[in-house]
């Protein structure tokens, strides 16, 4: 009987072919891009790059050349202004060329407002960010997903939103334990490596509190993704799940409305890349002047759990 249906279904399938569509893209002027972060307990991090043509070759040289190393970068905390120095900074688990300072007076503090001014070859960029006070999770626990077996699961969080409207959040997780076995190539040598080298946000990591102002509720935190870099266990059955035995640090960050808008749009663009439902708009950057970019401000708190 099934054969009959397959034959019938075949009737609906038509032969199709694809035609390559070519566009003549004009040369466009590249622009200065700022990506900076202030966070409680950490020194500021600023990365300056130059945008590239969408179809330009992306290789090691172009990656090296896109970083701007000769800018003047000043950070103000509303009282004092500090110069940030060029050097290698730890972003994304990797040391990258950027601007920071070892001055302990510039370590991020709750409630402070920061202004960043960047000057480079006649171009000026200005951006503002705030480190809001954090909201700690009430509790976090491992919730096994029994549809497979009980070795995989998500993290569940119980959270109480303060009864003041306008709070915005972003949540991350980081597995600090190591892989106990290898995967298929190219991940056939990951045994013993720490699973996550930085805090990873899942898609849909940000929200404002319009829906739940003042409420206490549970929510599911899927495992985060490292942007476009796929890890050994990001695909297959383990994708988006934590494993029993993982030691996970959950980072709960409060942020500001412009950062919520930016991250929401950025994650939506990443999730719907190529979809007809996506819009072709540019992201709502919070940088003013001769360029584009984003200046994040996070007020973070941390919880650690062992998935068991």
């Amino acid at each position: 009987m099934k054969k009959f249906y397959y034959i019938l279904l075949f009737g609906f399938i038509t032969v199709s072919c694809q035609k390559k569509i070519e566009f003549d893209l004009p040369e466009v002027e590249q622009t200065l891009v700022l990506e900076a972060t202030v966070e409680n307990g950490f020194a500021p991090k600023v990365i300056l790059t130059r945008s590239q043509g969408y179809f330009d070759v992306f290789d090691t040289m172009s990656l090296i050349n896109m970083f701007i190393t000769d800018a003047q970068v000043k950070l103000s905390d509303g009282i004092n202004e500090f110069d940030l120095d060029f050097g290698l900074i730890a972003t994304n688990g990797l040391p990258l060329p950027g601007y920071t300072t070892s001055n302990p007076d510039v370590i991020g503090q709750f409630g402070k407002n920061y202004t960043l001014n960047v000057y480079h070859q006649g171009d000026t960029l200005t951006a503002k960010a705030q480190i809001p006070y954090p909201v700690q999770m009430d509790s976090v626990w491992f919730d096994p997903y029994i549809a497979f077996d009980d070795t995989l699961g998500w993290i569940k969080c119980n959270f109480k939103d303060p009864d003041t409207v306008g709070n915005c959040y972003r949540w991350f997780s980081k597995r600090i334990n190591s892989y106990t076995y290898n995967y298929e190539a190219p991940f056939d040598n990951v045994l013993g490596e720490v699973k996550d080298k930085r805090f990873l946000p899942p898609i849909g990591s940000t929200t404002d509190d319009k829906l739940f102002n003042g409420l206490k509720f549970d929510f599911v935190l899927p495992r985060g993704v490292n942007g476009v870099v796929e890890g050994p266990d990001d695909s297959g059955v383990e994708g988006s799940f934590f494993s029993r035995g993982d030691t996970v640090v959950v980072k709960s960050s409060t942020t500001t409305y412009p950062i919520y808008l930016y991250v929401r749009a950025m994650e939506n663009a990443a999730a719907s890349n190529g979809s007809i439902f996506s819009s072709s708009g540019n992201l709502p950057y919070n940088v003013e002047g001769d360029g584009i970019g984003v200046f994040y401000g996070y007020g973070s708190s941390y919880d650690t759990l062992i998935c068991e």
Binding site: K2, Y5, L8, L9, G11, F12, I21, F23, L25, V28, Q30, E35, I47, T49, R50, S51, Q52, G53, Y54, L63, M66, N92, L96, G98, A147, F148, V165, G166, C168, D208, L211, F212, N213, L215, D218, F219, V220, G227, V228, V229, S240, T256, Y257, P258, L261, R264, M266, A269, I276, F277, S278, S279, S280, G281, N282, L283, P284, I292, V294, Y296
Partner: protein, 717 residues
């Protein structure tokens, strides 16, 4: 001494089925006077005392010649018989079909459903909306899409009427099929030029679709099994020659066919898609002066997705429902009135979630509409129409409910926006002399946004609400008035060609806001408020019309310029959830547009080999202060060249070959222009070009079809 004027009036219907015939020509050669039947099959013509030969003729029907002695008003109902001989058809039709040159209306095209059925159709599904896209000045929304754009206007600027009920979303399957079941449709009229003042509420066009009445004489069942859907139509008399019904339904069945292929253990079990629609109509001829029509449409699309592995599912139902009750009454042989009560509803829902999170989003529009349309057949020089129209609108822009386990999230009150829309109109189709005919009219329209309503004033930096204004139920919040003058005129040259010009000024009080890059059921109908002003459009058009070879060929050239104001778009990076504790119009940005073009049309109306060639050259631009710093950009459907060739060849009585060729400039679109690497997110971020700065390659397509009339085959067997 003046001879006394008398009126010849009546209804014309099909002798076999009793179906009212629309657009039948009634011609008195001796006086060179003519009339046509209206949408209910009624006609009225004024003549002096005397004896006349009156000819009733209609494409595909044998003509009837009546000799009438006029001493008094004469009421004459006519039954026309279908012509069996195609050669007869040519002869009958050739004499009187010069309405395109002699009428005042510009840019009006009527298509009979029989004609539409012989044009090649996507997956064999006859589709009215796809057929009108072959006409000059009408662009398609994309491959296989039923969305259409008329002379540079947006898809929301087309007034789509089904038996006088507004249809808000005319598509099934995300735009691939129209909601109109061709088996239940009698006539399709598209007005893309200056619309006469009895129509209003939209800027660009009117698509007026008339349903069949149902067979008054005998029971009839028609059905079809298609690749996509199967359909069944039942019609027949309730009381012979007095009352009839028609009931027609369609349903897709890919979900039913696919079901056995999905195993019980599949994570996707329960996923599927289907649509169905039902069209029904009842008619009563209460008396010689009164007729009653009750017609309705109900259709639903349902898309369901389950993924048990990821503990995720959603269900998306959407569809239209319309009902219209109409009462025709003849006050006298000269005064015809139609009173209509209409209910229209369109709604869309998205319900989704997982085992411990649920989310529901609904939107929709519901109208209650009451109107009266009078036609006064004053004399052969004046044909006067007047009437009024009132609509109570209720819009649900987006309503959201969400819960996590037993915690209900605060999604605010269900937002409903209420509005009163009203209009009065008067028009006169005036034959100034044998050469000059003028159709002038005035429509006065009004829209009032009324409470209950909450206006939010939100802080752009924090997203929080700074303040609100609450309006109580029924309280007027904002009222707009719109004078809408309409004028069209025709000058007939001695060679029976004509020059026409038209000016139409229109107000449109409702808007369609689209959050995605394509037209989807998620698009929101949104009314004018104190923030959103009514759309205002002015169209100037002129054209030269000529028929050749005894009206066998029609040709025309039309030029137009259209100016559009108060158009809306969502601001960039708007999301549906932004409507929560906010007004949709706070996320909109406003702009203007214009379009101009030239349309060339050549049609062979008669004979075994017939069809048309339509070519349009046009330019359509938009300008919004908040998009690309106010620089104007081409509309998505801006097409410099658009060519359609539709040909049919009737091999014999049973077999018809159809062919379609379409060539169009490619759609304009935005493309990624630059990128940058986000070290913080480990992602490549795209920087897009200016709006619609690029263009796809030209689009061209050729379809061929063969239609075999099984009914006629059976008859012979």
């Amino acid at each position: 001494m003046f001879s006394q004027q008398h009126t010849l009036s009546g209804y014309v219907k099909d002798a076999l089925t009793g179906e009212a015939l629309i657009g039948v020509s009634i011609y008195v050669e001796k006086e060179s006077k003519g009339a046509t039947t209206n949408v209910y099959g009624f006609y009225s013509i004024s003549l002096k005392s005397g004896e006349y030969e009156v000819k009733y003729s209609y494409v595909g029907y044998a003509d009837i010649l009546k000799t009438i002695q006029f001493k008094d008003h004469v009421r004459l109902n006519i039954d026309l018989k279908e012509s069996q001989d195609l050669l007869d058809e040519v002869v009958i039709d050739a004499k009187q079909s010069d309405e395109n040159t002699t009428g005042t209306q510009m840019g009006q095209i009527e298509l009979s459903i029989d004609k539409i059925k012989t044009i090649p159709a996507f997956m064999g599904e006859v589709d009215i909306l796809k057929t009108i896209q072959f006409l000059p000045g009408v662009s398609s929304g994309g491959e296989g899409n039923t969305g259409f754009y008329v002379r540079g206007g947006g898809p929301d600027q087309n007034l789509i009427l089904l038996d006088e009920a507004t249809v808000y979303n005319a598509s099934h399957l995300f735009g691939f099929f129209s909601v109109f079941n061709a088996d239940a449709i009698k006539n399709v009229k598209l007005i893309k030029g200056g619309m006469p003042s009895n129509y209003g509420g939209r800027l660009s066009s009117v698509l007026d679709i008339t349903m069949k009445d149902g067979n008054y004489k005998s029971f009839q069942a028609d059905g079809g099994i298609g690749l996509i859907a199967s359909r069944l139509t039942l019609q027949g008399p309730i009381k012979e020659d007095t009352a009839s019904f028609i009931l027609s339904g369609r349903r897709t069945y890919i979900d039913v066919l696919a079901k056995p292929l999905i195993s019980d253990t599949s994570a996707f079990k329960g996923s599927g898609y289907y649509f169905y629609d039902l069209t029904a109509k009842l008619n009563w001829r209460l008396s010689d002066k009164d007729r009653l029509y009750l017609s309705g449409y109900f259709g639903r699309d349902v898309f369901t997705f389950n993924n048990k592995d990821l503990d995720f599912n959603f269900n998306i139902p959407w569809g239209n429902a319309t009902a219209s009750l109409r009462w025709n009454h003849l006050f006298s042989d000269k005064l015809f009135v139609n009173t209509t009560a209409v209910f229209t509803d369109y709604n869309f829902a998205f319900e989704g979630g997982s085992s411990d999170f649920n989310f529901k989003l609904t939107s929709g529009v519901r109208d209650g509409n009451l109107k009266q349309d009078y036609t006064y057949y004053h004399s052969s020089l004046h044909n006067i129409k007047f009437g009024w129209n009132y609509t109570l609108h209720r819009f649900i822009p987006t309503s959201t409910e969400a819960s996590s386990n037993d915690v209900e999230f605060d999604t605010g009150e269900k937002v409903k926006i209420w509005g009163n829309e009203a209009a009065i109109y008067l028009l006169d189709d005036w034959s100034v002399n044998e050469r000059l005919k003028v159709n002038f009219g005035m429509r006065l329209s009004m829209y009032q946004h009324i409470g209950p309503f909450t206006r939010y004033f939100n802080n752009e930096n924090t997203g929080t609400t700074d303040s609100t204004i609450n309006y109580s139920s029924g309280k007027p919040i904002k009222t707009y008035f719109g004078p809408e003058p309409r004028l069209s005129a025709r000058y007939l040259f001695p060679d029976n060609s004509s020059f026409k010009l038209g000016i139409a000024h229109n107000y449109q009080y409702i808007h369609l806001a689209s959050i995605s890059s394509v037209s989807l059921p998620t698009d929101l109908w949104f009314p004018s408020t104190e923030v959103v002003k009514p759309q205002i459009g002015t169209q100037y058009s002129m054209g030269y019309f000529k028929n050749f070879f005894n009206n066998k060929y029609e040709a025309s050239v039309e030029l137009y310029y259209k100016d559009l104001n108060n158009l809306i778009e969502y601001k960039e990076n708007s999301f549906p959830e932004d409507n929560l504790k906010n007004n949709v119009d706070n996320q909109l940005t406003f702009g203007r547009g214009y379009s101009y073009g030239a349309e060339f049309f050549l049609k062979k109306r008669l004979g075994d080999f017939n069809g048309w060639i339509g070519y349009t050259w046009s330019k359509t631009m938009r300008q919004f202060d908040e998009i690309d710093n106010g620089v104007e950009f081409p509309a998505k459907y801006d097409r410099r060249n658009d060519l359609s060739v539709v040909l049919q060849y009737q091999i014999n009585e049973r077999v018809n070959i159809g062919g379609v060729f379409v060539y169009a400039t490619g759609n304009s679109l935005s493309l990624p222009e630059r990128r940058w690497f986000s070290a913080e997110e480990n992602r490549i971020i795209t920087v897009w070009s200016k709006r619609n700065a690029f263009r796809l390659d030209a689009y061209h397509r050729a379809d061929i079809s063969i239609t075999i009339d099984a009914k006629k085959l059976n008859r012979e067997i």
